[in-house]
Every structure is written in structure tokens, then in C-alpha cells.
Amino acid sequence: MISWRTKVLPPLLAIVFSVLICSIALLISGSDPLRAYGTMLRQLGQGTTAVDTVNLATVYYLSGLAVAIGFQMNLFNIGVEGQYRFAAVWAAIIGGALHLPSVLHALVIIVVAIAAGVAYAAIPAILKVTRGVSEVISTIMLNSIVGGIVAFLINPDQFGVLTGNNLRTQVIDSSGRIPGIPIGDASLFGFVIIVAVVGGAYWFMLNRTRFGFELRASGESTTAAAAGGVNAKRMTLVAMLLSGGVAGMVALPELLGRDYSYAITSTQGYGFTGIAVALLGRNHPGGIALGALLWAFLDKSAVSLEQVNVPKEIATIMQGAIVLSVVVAYEVVKRADLAAAQRRVGRALGGGKPASVAEGGAI
């Protein structure tokens, strides 16, 4: 029933609004907004930026999906950050230590990553279902603790290797890598294909399977789901573990497609980005993809903004403004939509008998 217009209009409005806000900020700091936006757009055509943006979006997409699985049932998995780093370091260690035939090697690494992600997500999941510990607190704590675990594992006394001044895990053999797809000068992560499959699977799971239905039902109303035979604890556990499994893959596009080892300088924060991306995409596989691309684009443009002496914090402000205005816009549109639906029902019933909407808890 939701028209195409109401799906697409809010994000567009939000982007326009954010651009306006940032223009003001840019003018205050004495920069030319038009030039700044021009640079942001132009950079896409320069060198490998366009492909790099897609590569980065791939990572954000996975992270966004991981968060979205939790969101579907109102589980706030802030812990994607910790889960992906935990998974990445184990995948890199084991991948670096093993010497296996080509496809198998990569497969083993992926499985290890997923398993590690699941394992790290199991802690908050179990604490939640057995002890009722809020996943918000436990994952906040676990996100910090993972720093210590990574440092411990990557220590030369354990599994680390010192290269220059950097500490990293052993480099993964070429048999464990996933070859890139060359596009001009640049190379698109081969993992993109796997990510697309994961996205498709997520959509299918959500819309076509019993589990997906139960997940969404729990998210919409725990009580109704319980009465409908959905076991809330089991759903919480499974959703959290599934979320952890997807989170486990977040670092893989880079690990298997570009870096081949995990270092103390490897990027952090993808998990937090995932939250924003999932919110932007409204937990919808397509929406998350767009959100991830937009986010990656803004991140990339920060680099080029500096080249023209524009404060690159503008990109962060724009990201925050977009998230906030997107949700406000969706909220406004949603309200109008529901009113329209009620009017339709009212009309269809011929205006005589008033539809008792209050009973259904007008939203």
C-alpha cells in the first residue's frame, strides 16, 4: 500500500535539508558550498574513487545488515563493532596459519569469521536470555573489551608479526584470497558477490520464511508474537547469533580482497557506521544498500574536500543531519499515510458506520 513516492520522497527531502544545513555551516567557515559539493561529486570520476566507494559500501552494507537483523525484533545490537573485530582477528590468524587449496581456504576463513562473530555475539545473547542483562549494556562493554583481546592475540608473543612498526597477523596465502574484479584501474572486491547473496538471503529470509515472519512479528509486538507461538527467548538468541554471524563477515571484503592480514592499524568503527546505515535503510535490504553507498560516498568525499581546503567535518555533520532528517521525514510521511489508509477504509465502508480506529490503537 505504500506508494513509491512515499518511499523515495523522504530520503530525498532529508538530503536536500542536510545539504542546506551544511551550506550554512560552510558559509560560516568561509568556504564556497557550491565548490565543495562540486568537488564531492567530481571526485567520483577521479581515479579509483568510484570503485573504492563501492568497496567501502560493501563493508558498510554487511555491517548495516547485521544491525538490521537485530533491529527487526527490537534488539539493539550495538555489539557489531566488537563482533566484527573479534571475527576479523580470528579469521586472519587462522587464515594466515593454514595452507589449503584455493577455494577451500577462502571458505574456511569465511566459516571461521562467521563462527567467531557468532561466538562473540553469544555472550550478550546468553546473558540476555538467561540473566536478563540488557544487550545495550553488555555489548557496549564487549565492544571495549574486544580491543584488549585483539591486542593480546596480535601480540608477537601470540600470533602477531612485526612489520616495520606495525603489528599484524600472518599474511594469508593467495589460495585464501578472493580475487578482485578489475574495473579500469581499480579493482572491485570479489566479495561483493557474496555480499549481494547475503543481502538477497536476508530479503528472502525476512519475507518468505517462517523464521523471518516470526522475527518481524516479535519486532512489531512481542506480546502478539508470544500469543502466536513465537518463542521470544529463542528468537532473541537466534537473532543475536545471526546478527553476530553477519557481523563476523564485515571485515572479510577487505581482509580477503585487499589487506590479507589484520593489523593494529586496521580500521575500527564499521560497527557503529552499520547502525546509522541500517537506520537510513530502514532495515530493508535495498534501503540499506542505498544507505551504505551514500555513507561511503560521504566518507570518501571527506578526503577530497581537504584537497580544496574545506573542513572535512562537514561530511560528519552531513551524515548526522541526514540520519536525523530522514527519520523525521519518514515519520511525517508515515503519519500522513496511516491517516490516508484510515480515510480509505472509512470511504470504502460508505461513511455510514464509523470505523473504530481507536480500538486498533491509532498509531
Binding site: M141, A276, G320, L324, V327
Partner: protein, 424 residues
């Protein structure tokens, strides 16, 4: 007659009432807890010979580290009691650090404090507009505010601090609050502490830490705990605010302007988070704005508040627990953390005895197993892996939450949407 009595229902003449158990008042429980904790710590300190556990320095550090968390947690309390989940505390805190540095640079620490409060409150205002006026999901808005707070503070720092300090990520050094000590008392307490008498010296050490090098902001923050309690639970304003977090429609039906109270709660929340930011800038160890300085303390504050069951006393406990274990690991390193482990074994021992009396066999078994494992770790190691030590407070928080099977009770309408005239 058509009714036949099938079975006699107990005592039919009395009205069923929930059994009212006499409960200790909150403050008494707090004191009992404090005494218990000091007892366990001093026992551990005595038995392991690690006196950092109860040293003046540890207490002082703990207090300082707990302050920003405490203020953020209080911020969370005010907002969530009014029914608005505030995960944007971190962003408001960041705005606070910027404000504190800016104000203090131009007008000294007090102006800094005011500016931090104003900046934090602005963040709160944004959150209120989004969640109260536009009914946006509270978590979504909070996440966005964390992003915006970071972006805006960075932007403002580039704009304003860079010309002063030559560094877009840092302000110039700004004046901090003077500190004061109760010299007379602290001399006496130091004396006691040095005597190394079990219990007495430990308590003296801890108390001494709490009364030396105290700044006005410290006192304000601590006083805000009972003040929050009194205002929220013993004034008309507090009653109305809490009613908005419990059942806004009922409040509306009694003529309470729910929007006003929600806005007030969230604004105060932002202001307190901003103060939390100020505590990072205007106390010893601060002395200026620095990008990334809050380092997730807003989230920890939120955790402390949930830990404290949405109550001022409880969140004080949460912040103190976090501050203490952080202070301990900073001050004493791996050895002290091991000694803390030993303390945990002792505490588990006490719990096991209590469970024995209550005949909760599962609790006893689990307690014994946990104590055994911890003791084994203590016994088998001289020191813990250094990489993990800095995360002691996080682990402690997690374990305490898992062990203490507390029944958390958030305000009933916390996070719920509310629109005037839509309830029934």
C-alpha cells in the same frame, strides 16, 4: 440455588493484598552496601598485601573517573524518567567538552561550566524536538545526535580553537577548577592509613581519597545525586515528570502538559551530559578540549544508569563501580586487578553462605564453581595479561550484571511514542 461451592477458597473474608515486606530505606541499604564493600576490599587488601585496593590515591582517581560517568548517568535518569530514551548522551557530552573549553578559555572554569551546560542542553533540545515533537524513534534520534555532536564539535573546534592553539583537534590550555582538601581531617586519616590496621586503615584511605583534591564541580556532581532524588521523588515537578515516563496519557488527563515535562527532562538531561563533558575538561587531568576525549563515557553513563535501575542511588553505585575498577587498574595495574579478583572470591564466599541459609542450592553450586575458577586464576598467575588490564571496569560491570540477578524496572512508558489527544 444455582451455585454450588466446589471447593472452599481459603479465607474468604479478607481482601487479597500483596504481602507487604518491610524494606530497608534506600540510604540504609546504601550504607550497608558501602560497609560491606569496604569490608571485602580491606580483607582482600590485607590477605593479598596489595594496598592499592584501598589507597587514598585509588579512591581519588576513582572519584575523578567516576564523575563524568555519574553526570552522564544522571542525564540519562532525567530523560528516561520523563519517558525519553537517551542514547545521545555521548554526543551531548562531546558538545559539553567543547563548550567547557570555550567558556573556560574566555571566562574561567565557571563560565566553562555554564557553557558546557548550555551546549549539552542544545543537544538535548535537538533530541527533544526529534523525539517529542516529531515522535522519531528515540534510539534513532540518539544515534543521529551522537554523530551530529561529534561533527559539530569538530567543526567548531576547527573554526574557533585552531586559530588559538594552532590545532584543530585541541583547544589551548584552559583554567581548571581549583581543588580543596579537608586538610585537618585528611592529615588524621593519612596517619590512620599509614598504620596499616586492617579495616580502619582501609576505610581511612578510601575516605581520605574522597576528601582530598576535591573541586567545586565534584561537590556539585555528588550533591546532584540526592538533589535529583529529592526533586524527582519529593516535589510536584518531579512527580509530574515521572508520571510522563510512566503513563503520559494519564498525566495528560490530569492536566499535566506532557510535552513541557518531556522537553524539560530531556533538556536537563542534555545539560547534565554537558556537565559530564565539563568534568573531563575542567577537572584535573583535563585542561582543554581534545577530540575523542569522551571516549565512550556517555555510553558507559547510560550503562551505569540501567545498572542502577533508573534510580539516583543505584546509578551512583554503577558509576562508582566503574570508576573504582578503572581507577584501580590505572593506579595498580595487573597486581591490583588480581587482588580485586581475590576480593571477588571473598564476596562469592559470602554470597554462597547467604544462599546456603536460603537453601538455594543452585546458587550455592554456581557460586562455589565461580569462586573456584576465580581462585584458580588468582593462584596460577602473578599478573594478568597487560593488554587486558585496561578493560577491567568493563569486565567487572559485565560480571556484576550477570551475577546480581536484579530485577530492572524501567519507567513504563520509556521510549514509547506519545501524542497529545491520541490516548484512550
Amino acid at each position: 440455588m444455582a451455585i454450588s461451592t466446589a471447593s472452599q477458597a481459603g479465607d474468604a473474608t479478607t481482601v487479597p493484598t500483596a504481602p507487604v515486606r518491610r524494606r530497608l530505606p534506600g540510604w540504609a541499604k546504601g550504607i550497608l552496601w558501602a560497609v560491606g564493600v569496604i569490608a571485602v576490599l580491606s580483607a582482600a587488601s590485607y590477605l593479598t598485601g596489595v594496598n592499592t585496593l584501598t589507597s587514598t590515591n585509588t579512591a581519588q582517581t576513582a572519584l575523578r573517573l567516576a564523575l563524568p560517568i555519574l553526570l552522564a548517568a544522571l542525564g540519562g535518569l532525567w530523560s528516561e524518567r520523563a519517558g525519553v530514551i537517551n542514547i545521545g548522551l555521548e554526543g551531548m557530552m562531546i558538545l559539553g567538552t567543547w563548550g567547557a573549553a570555550w567558556g573556560a578559555y574566555y571566562g574561567g572554569p565557571w563560565l566553562g561550566l555554564v557553557a558546557a551546560i548550555v551546549m549539552g542542553a542544545l543537544g538535548g533540545l535537538l533530541h527533544a524536538i526529534a523525539t517529542v515533537t516529531f515522535n522519531v524513534n528515540h534510539i534513532v534520534s540518539g544515534v543521529a545526535i551522537n554523530l551530529l555532536g561529534l561533527g559539530i564539535a569538530k567543526y567548531l573546534a576547527t573554526l574557533i580553537f585552531q586559530p588559538l592553539s594552532g590545532n584543530p583537534r585541541q583547544s589551548p590550555t584552559v583554567p581548571t577548577f581549583d581543588t580543596y582538601s579537608a586538610t585537618f581531617l585528611s592529615d588524621w586519616l593519612s596517619g590512620l592509613e599509614k598504620q596499616q590496621r586492617v579495616g580502619v586503615s582501609d576505610a581511612a584511605g578510601l575516605i581520605n581519597g574522597l576528601i582530598t583534591g576535591v573541586s567545586p564541580l565534584t561537590i556539585i556532581a555528588i550533591v546532584l545525586v540526592p538533589v535529583s532524588y529529592l526533586v524527582l521523588w519529593h516535589t510536584r515537578f518531579g512527580l509530574r515528570l515521572r508520571s510522563c515516563g510512566e503513563n503520559p496519557v494519564a498525566a495528560e488527563s490530569l492536566g499535566v502538559n506532557v510535552y513541557t515535562y518531556k522537553y524539560t527532562g530531556v533538556l536537563l538531561s542534555g545539560a547534565l551530559a554537558g556537565m559530564g563533558g565539563a568534568a573531563l575538561v575542567l577537572l584535573q587531568g583535563g585542561g582543554g578540549y581534545l577530540e575523542g576525549q569522551t571516549n565512550g563515557r556517555g555510553y558507559i553513563g547510560l550503562a551505569a544508569m540501567i545498572f542502577g535501575n533508573w534510580r539516583p542511588g543505584g546509578l551512583l553505585g554503577g558509576a562508582a563501580l566503574f570508576g573504582y575498577s578503572d581507577g584501580l587498574q590505572l593506579a595498580g595495574g595487573g597486581k591490583a586487578v588480581l587482588a580485586l579478583l581475590y576480593g571477588a572470591v571473598l564476596l562469592l564466599g559470602v554470597i554462597v553462605v547467604v544462599q546456603l541459609f536460603r537453601r538455594r542450592w543452585l546458587g550455592v553450586v554456581l557460586g562455589v564453581i565461580a569462586a573456584g575458577i576465580l581462585y584458580w586464576i588468582y593462584w596460577a598467575n602473578d599478573s594478568l595479561p597487560g593488554d587486558l588490564i585496561p578493560y577491567t571496569p568493563h569486565v567487572v560491570t559485565l560480571i556484576v550484571l550477570a551475577v546480581a540477578s536484579q530485577r530492572l524496572r524501567p519507567p513504563k512508558a520509556d521510549g514509547a511514542r506519545y501524542r497529545r489527544g491520541e490516548g484512550d
